[in-house]
Symmetry: C3
Amino acid sequence: MLFQALPSFSASLKLRGYVAGTAAMLLMLYLIAITAEAMTGALSAGRRGMDWFGVVLIACVTALGGGSVRDVLLGHYPLTWVKHPEYLILTSVAALLTIFIAPLMRHLRSLFLVLDALGLVAFTLIGCMTALEVGTGLLVASVCGVITGVFGGILRDIFCNDIPWVFRRELYASVSFLSAWCFLLCQHLQLPEEQSILITLFGGLLLRLLAIRFNWNMPKFVYKGDAH
Amino acid sequence: MLFQALPSFSASLKLRGYVAGTAAMLLMLYLIAITAEAMTGALSAGRRGMDWFGVVLIACVTALGGGSVRDVLLGHYPLTWVKHPEYLILTSVAALLTIFIAPLMRHLRSLFLVLDALGLVAFTLIGCMTALEVGTGLLVASVCGVITGVFGGILRDIFCNDIPWVFRRELYASVSFLSAWCFLLCQHLQLPEEQSILITLFGGLLLRLLAIRFNWNMPKFVYKGDAH
Amino acid sequence: MLFQALPSFSASLKLRGYVAGTAAMLLMLYLIAITAEAMTGALSAGRRGMDWFGVVLIACVTALGGGSVRDVLLGHYPLTWVKHPEYLILTSVAALLTIFIAPLMRHLRSLFLVLDALGLVAFTLIGCMTALEVGTGLLVASVCGVITGVFGGILRDIFCNDIPWVFRRELYASVSFLSAWCFLLCQHLQLPEEQSILITLFGGLLLRLLAIRFNWNMPKFVYKGDAH
């Protein structure tokens, strides 16, 4: 998807040097993001005592599920992992590695919170860009950004039979939504794509880390009425 | 989807006056239905104590998920909410409104049962029509009607980690199925589309309300054998 | 899907007699497999006390869901059951029949384990072949084989609000994965398609039955860390 995106990026920018830089940065962020998400998926599978095969599948669904849902909803084929099967290998290796380094994972908690936040914003950016390429309007592009950002985690929780906690954690989905609109606003102001991306990345990451640090939360809606 | 449907409707009818009337009525019913479904989705999210963002997402999935699943299965792009993002706004506003009027909701229970029944039949009708447009046979059209009618509720329950109660409530899915075949039969008898729609709406609504009133249920299948 | 597959099969084989034989055998295996999977789906629905309509829907999802997910991910339309609605009838009839013969089912446990194993390998084979037809590489083809083989069961468990046990049972998903690679290897060695299919079927079935008999399991990953 990133490689597909390149031609249209370069067409819309004057300085080819920037393009290569931006695309390479986004690709690097994407690879970090799917690796980190695969590892959180593997840990979730481990909490349910799944076998190694289940661990790999949950990891792939967590890392690549958000983008797949977005592409299926947009009818945007082929899916990323069909075009780039090497991403399947990367996420599978990350999942298997997680099994062996699991005892270390609790010491890496802070690192993973940062990587996860980075992944959230990077996924959101890529989701917005893909939607805009396909020709959707701004609102749908922002929704596609959020879907790309959070649906991997939602699918992971559904597969592991948890209530998706994406909606119960410090501003998680909200950071994705605000990042999407930050990027779309920057683009609307006709900033160069590279600047839009960098502003969104720093803004989104900062907001998410502040939310974790100070335990900011969206207000919750608690309803005690009868079911149905 | 409704607007897409218009040309083919008008081509198949002689009196253009009827067309506008039928399409406008179906659109109005569709808007009522997605609003009511969004509100039931928001209440389900509230029962799980989700944050506002989660409430909006569950509401959108409940209201627009059935049609999205149908369109993805048929390869019928673009999806309704991609073509008409205003529906996303409508369902989001309905969800946020629900948070504030939640204390009143228990007094509106009867109203919501009627709106929900209306939505079920309207969704089913629209699902059948979309499938027929795409060129499926009658059986697949009826299945697409049921998918459109009940999958929003199924997805809501999966996201909220409940067992889908669509299959455990008074004739819910069955009303959808019978409505689909009522419409297809009317069409087969070459009744004008408007009449087919009206007959199905009244029949389906009546059946659902009678089922609620007299607590009619499909027989249940209870199996106590070992799992696997 | 099987009928669609025929022309390309025949093009790739010299002996037309073999083609008819292989395709007929695969079709027969496919019909046995969807019937057996529909019945296991119906039993799962019965364990949750669903009504008859729910039983039929869970049965259809279990039997046809794996292939549908694969085709949606590949953008391979129309889906099997849209093209061949008779498969919907077959799975529905099998589901309703299961309701009546449920008391006998515990005596047929061994038979069902064999049929289920046969279905797993047949689904995997068909998934691989479909992916290769669409033009994917070998890795994606093997993934499509596994998706076709195990996703029906995963969807069944998600709909019934269970943790997918596909990943916790004797080599289930692993047999699918190894069957896929066995077939792809045979094809790579340019064996005739019929031989590749037969070798894979016998090998996969044998491995699965041995795994059940001797209770072979993939190692499990058990992680006790905090959630998130």
